[in-house]
Symmetry: D5
């Protein structure tokens, strides 16, 4: 443990966030996400949900302000009939604390989301149980 | 994630508990325990406290009934003046659910505890903040 | 060995099943299956037949309920003249204990089965001697 | 799988038995034996009992005829009051098929047995459930 | 060394033959074969010729009876003018001891033979000096 | 780079500081310190002097308040005739910003300092040119 | 540290520059460059800016005189409206000390620069904060 | 060092030459050749020129007599105006000692030479300073 | 294979003999020697007897002429009643070809021989079947 | 190759010299020195003699001026009757160019020299043929 570092961030996760550069992406996958199968670099956070991790990561990781939408969620399959997932409201609140507005959040169709995850710098495996909870963050710059 | 397995137990922790044999010991260290320095095998559980992990582990790991005291805590330095650590009450409750009585809990002086940890099969690094929270479990038999 | 875990499941197999995510596949190959050649991750279970392993795995591994057929067998080459393999009746019985009906079992032509095995998360090598005994399981979700 | 090789012997176990020389020892540990902790080389045979493995190994591995007792069991703790373990009768029958008489079987006190296991060439981890089932074999010569 | 195992078979070669499955191929290359360059798995048998190895391997390795020609030789470049290589007669005799008739032997053009070798499960490097001595074996089933 | 993290701290150094526990020590060696020879874990910071690193590290690393002297310098060989090294004044100023008083700084004889460095969790290799600049920090607790 | 070697050059960086041959390229990336993601070989120089490194490297590394432009910068996105980056003037001065004139400096569009970086022999990660500071050097010959 | 082995041949180089088979190629690169970048297997011979190495290698390595030109040089760029490189005369003399005539030497255009080097079994990095000194040898047979 | 190198010497064995220095020892163990257990570096020569290897090795490896007895055999246990092993006559003949007289051969008691083998640079595992065939060679100098 | 760096110094040797700190020792062994056996880190310089290497190394490596004798040779066994080795005169000349006088050269008895070599940071293996040519250098400081 260190001063200033939320204790949910393991040494490996901290090192990984640090190594990432402008435009690199990290996926926070839910408990059923095939993280071990798709990840270039795998970081396990068993026993944790995504909102706790997301808030801790954003304390250290700047988001990309050079693109319109630095945050990406997995599209709801049947958008017309399914309600907006509950957890997205939590995400919206956390992101707004870090100056990310709702219209800066992108949505990617499920299989496109998978393909993009395979190219990401790293995937975090959580045990989040909410549906449609997977989220991709694009790193911004430290100036 | 799997059926029957508490989701706080990572694949590596599960594998480690499975590999251990009768008499092997595992240490659950608090957030300041020098786990990376002392461990033969290190398992990180950043962001978790010990009671949650202890309860989950005991669902799978049998304790040694061949010895009088299969559980060991780190002795309070000034036993006469310091009160019993709060977290020990939590441990007592969890252990009693698994048929371990209070008199089956041993106490080891701090530096002896460290030396024993270096010989343990594995050490789990948590971010538990309570004092005197480190705990050693001795594995029993499956019959 | 651990409580709740069938003892036929090795630490490595248990860890592998745990790491898999929704939609990942695992192949249980018979004794002549070219497992070492095709596997991304190889788990050997020498001396075991497939039904024992299948039953043990299904106690922990949820099958995918998002697809019609989460279980796949290798197609009999001459379906018109060869009888249904004996071992499939055993599989049907085991699967029905886990709420998988016969019509949820798919059949894949031999060489397509091989290609799919090469993409699977893992292959288990058994010494099962029955013909047409190879089987693919698609992991479902823990909710 | 190969001709002449019992299918309970994995490629790794076969290779290990082959590599051993005259006087090298291999331990077959029961399901609670701390095999992963003590082994120089660990071979897992989850789901198997010891008699099946013992019989298969002896088909290939010659025992040492230069020493009086090439086979060693773990001594019963309270020899006067505990009956001879059931499984020892099975061992006796298997060993006699390979020309090893009962008086060629040694007995080693529990902790001495552990220390000797740590020096052995390899340890096999089974899930044998019988008590006092651990056994050490000393390899002989091929002439 | 082990009972029943020809002593020309090293622990690694034995393990490799064991791991192979139905349809996997192994190449026995002569002393000038670019084995280290082409092999997925390389097994060196320096100082040995091919007939000795072939005979030893066939004592353990079943050949594929599901294909017409489980054995493949490298085609003589100028078939009309070059005589049948002497060593093929030796091979024929050895193979016939294992129920492989001459018409079950295939011939592959030199560069096609090389390409196929690169896909084989393993290549054995011998120091055989005869010309046209390279040989591919396709593993069959143990039933 | 990350928010809140001084950019002189590399991902590996950050990870190492994070992994350390209460009582673990880290050495910051000068440009001539035999760091690669003595280190359990080596972290290179070529091109940097020690004061810059020290100040950055102390922003994240708590010092041990359970011991009287959590900071150790290498003793001046001829204390009576040599003046106090200039760089020690810089250290004093930096340490006082982090509530470490001058009397909390220990001094260790040169060869004892070397032996202690070999047992430290990690050694940082700088290119600091000042004499008597080596410094050992003992990690404290996060509460 | 060594005589003649600027101390900002770590042992790994020195070894890497030495190994490179005629025509091989090395990228010096700024603090936000996705170096860890793109690099065939990654060399971290945390806490350093690019001009200090560039000057030190050019003391040892000859530039390619067989091509017109052995140095490449990342093109300014909006060349018509953005001023020439300040840091380029520093680069020009350093390069001119090593006989590289301004017209020997090439400019590569951002995404082409990234693709070329992925093929470079190595990437150096600095914490340079200036914009458009990334630079590629093509090694020349020692004669 | 060994009897019969020129002492310029390191253990690794000797092993590599031995492992190569008929038709495999080895490149001896000059001091500016991008050997570390292109090599499947890299062997460094710093401080040596090529003629010394070439002569030593040819004492052990047979050249391919099945092809017309078992030796390849890098083509002079401007063949009409540049004189034949001095070092080629040295090569001719050395090669003629090993029964390779001048017309058995091929010439490959620079970039084709590079591409072929990337496919070679190994590349030797020398510090030869002569121009057009790179040379490829194709191994022949030992009969 | 290479010119001048007996083909029984594998690339690894050749490299090992080359690396050894003055005074380093290599053990050639018989088929029952516990080579894999005792060796610092293990070289397998399955299928070969010792005289063939010994003769090939001595073509390249100089023996130590600075000591009285550069060759060591394992002492016959019951020297008074057991005849001199047959294979020693073969050794004597081979050694005399390399100017080693019978009185330059030492004899070491069995367990002392084992301990010395553990300190040797390498052990060669053969499948030699003769008794008392193990032999230690001490490398001499190339001048 | 690099500017300012003698081309006899390989990338690995350069890196090693750089990593060494004040007081660390490097051994330059002759062609018969058991370098591979004794070295913590081995650097091969096959085909080179020691004077060439020594001169190149001293261009970069400062010797220790804090001790009386930063250079050590292996003592002549029979000092009274053997002449001073020729090569020592060469060494004296090279060392004097780097301000090391003859009385700063120590001599260590053969077996003490070996023991000290085992503790050295690195050993360089040359093919120097002169007797008594081994030499130990103790690194000094860069100030």
């Amino acid at each position: 443990m260190l001063k200033r570092i939320p204790n949910i961030l393991s040494p490996d996760l901290l090192k990984t966030l640090h190594e990432m550069g402008h435009g690199d992406e990290i996926v926070i996958g839910d408990g059923n996400f095939p993280a071990a199968n798709y990840a270039n670099r795998l970081i396990r956070c068993d026993g944790h949900n995504i909102p706790d991790l997301l808030a801790a990561i954003l304390e250290l990781l700047p988001l990309d302000t050079f693109v319109d939408k630095p945050v990406t969620l997995m599209q709801v399959v049947d958008e017309q009939n399914e309600p907006t997932p509950e957890i997205w409201h939590e995400y919206k609140d956390i992101l707004s604390e870090f100056q990310v507005a709702e219209n800066q959040i992108d949505h990617e169709e499920r299989f496109a989301f998978y393909e993009r995850s395979k190219r990401a710098y790293a995937i975090i495996a959580t045990t989040e149980k909410a549906l449609y909870a997977n989220i991709i963050l694009k790193k911004g710059v430290i100036s």
